[in-house]
Symmetry: C2
Subunit: 323 residues, 2 copies
């Protein structure tokens, strides 16, 4: 929630001279995006998002992210689309940072998605998975099992500062995944961060998916698990099984899940919990006093992990196993 | 540069149901405004700024600020204009905070104003002073001499933490103003915070003045002094006399300055320097680690103060004294 790199009036005027997008009418930094600086640019033609990629994004990954957005848009998926300049370039440089101009997507993200919105999310996620089926670039998920192991090593000595016993819980959970992670499930391009703030709704309909900066090649149904965590738990920590079943049903209407994918949901949900527990724990242990961005609570994901550890079969998520 | 109060999708939909402004298309927190939370709202009709007033703004002052903006807009001044709801109310409540919907003003603020922009600022400031001439509400300037005395008392014990000898400098400067402050100069409504980021330009023309939340009834030419500090010093601390002379000339083309007003410019500039030195010093001494807003450098205004202390007459600001 911050603007890290300040772009002044002269710099933005020079920047957009390379594009055929009209004259600048207004230009404002927006309080969105934890990783990057984002500006809302309005011109005599329409409005755009200008993103400057900050240090946490690997520059080498940018062609993958931007090409994916282009690919999905070309397939009719409602997603923010990079705008090429007059020479057809998408990835540019501004104020010493990599930068891209992105089409503006209308809509509002909801804080507390309802059952119907969970269903729409499932459908849109599956449509995205299918549309990305013939995307040729690859990016490994550096926040899957190997990444968790490496994060856990960085955190283990101090994890108990966050919660007593956390270090042991993480170690045991990692051992479980080393032995049981379902590497052979169908893979493809996943969004990997489909939290409610990355999904827009307009007039009750899902209007778009944004923020592809964690997208990668990984187990497709792992994307479902990530969203089950961020969409189906209530504020009091309770799990809303109706929301989960609708999310999965919305997904299955577009892309049928195999019996193996359904059976693996509990371990995928545990992995998704561990992934966000670890990244949040790392940020929490390395938080800087005075930083612009508030660190998120790691323990929210510890609670989810504990819930999923008790789940014996995907049926408890409201999935119709016979499907 | 922050959003303090989070407004969610449901809350904004409910809020704008009271207005005849179309349907919400997008709603984004913007990284603007140190004192308040600001959102950019786009609807099927046009775009707006939604401001939630945070603790640093006295709720009792809001009718003054909002009425002034209405008054100026009605007189043809390009300023952000409050939008009434269907019952004609301007000051509303949202998420437990006072809130107002404000018309969106096109334009970009410049970081380093040039000579021509300084001249346009002078003209626009004088037009605003004249347009506010028959505005009937009053708000005293709580950041004039009495306010400085009170701030200095709060800071004196620790001022030297910021710069050795600062406490003595402030005390001596205050003594000077207690004896010499030109209380009898012509008064009226002043903006009192016309920094470059509160002035928009579009296609080379000044397109509007924003952020009236320090406006008050005070010496008109004190507004010139405040802007001379924020517009006419270069980044290296040098004073650009051409910019100052053009700012004053632009002003004088609309509202003629009396000999007394011109002669008083050096003390007004000293007072304006002391005012921002003191408020920045207070914020600096009371800065909170982890706060979203970076404290501004008090010493920038100490350097300006020292410059103005050496000025013997307004002629050194490039003013044509014979005028």
């Amino acid at each position: 929630m911050a603007v890290y790199t300040h772009v002044n009036a002269e710099e933005i005027e020079n920047f957009i001279a390379d594009y055929n997008i009209g004259e600048v009418l207004s230009f404002k930094g927006i309080a969105e995006g934890v990783e990057n600086s984002n500006y809302l640019l309005r011109t005599t033609k329409t409005q755009y998002i200008l993103t400057l990629y900050e240090k946490r994004v690997d520059e080498n990954d940018l062609p993958f992210f931007l090409s994916l957005m282009e690919h999905l848009a070309a397939k009719g998926i409602n997603c923010a689309t990079p705008i090429p300049d007059n020479q057809g370039r998408i990835l540019k440089n501004l104020c010493g940072r990599p930068a891209a101009l992105i089409g503006f997507l209308d809509g509002l993200s909801v804080m507390r998605p309802d059952v119907e919105q969970c269903m729409q999310l499932g459908t849109a996620m599956a449509q995205m998975h299918v549309a990305a089926g013939d995307f040729i670039l690859r990016r490994e998920n550096n926040l899957s099992l190997d990444g968790w192991i490496s994060l856990a090593e960085k955190c283990e000595d101090r994890a108990d500062e966050c919660s007593l016993g956390l270090s042991d819980i993480i170690e045991n959970e990692l051992e479980y995944h080393k032995e049981n992670w379902p590497h052979r499930l169908p893979k493809g391009i996943i969004h990997a961060d489909l939290f409610p703030d990355n999904v827009f709704f307009l007039d009750g309909r899902l209007s778009g998916l944004i923020d592809y900066y964690f997208a990668c090649f990984d187990i497709l149904s792992y994307d479902i698990a990530i969203s089950m965590n961020s969409w189906c738990f209530e504020k009091d920590g309770s799990f809303n099984v109706t929301k989960a079943s609708k999310l999965i049903a919305g997904y299955s209407n577009v892309r049928k899940l195999s019996a193996e994918e359904i059976e693996a949901l509990p371990i995928l949900c545990r992995g998704a919990s561990l992934r966000f527990l670890l990244t949040r724990l790392y940020d929490w242990l390395n938080r800087v006093e005075g930083a612009l961005v508030k660190t998120k609570d790691p323990l929210e994901y510890l609670r989810m992990l504990k819930f999923h550890q008790t789940v014996k079969s995907a049926g408890e998520y409201g999935v119709d196993i016979k499907k």
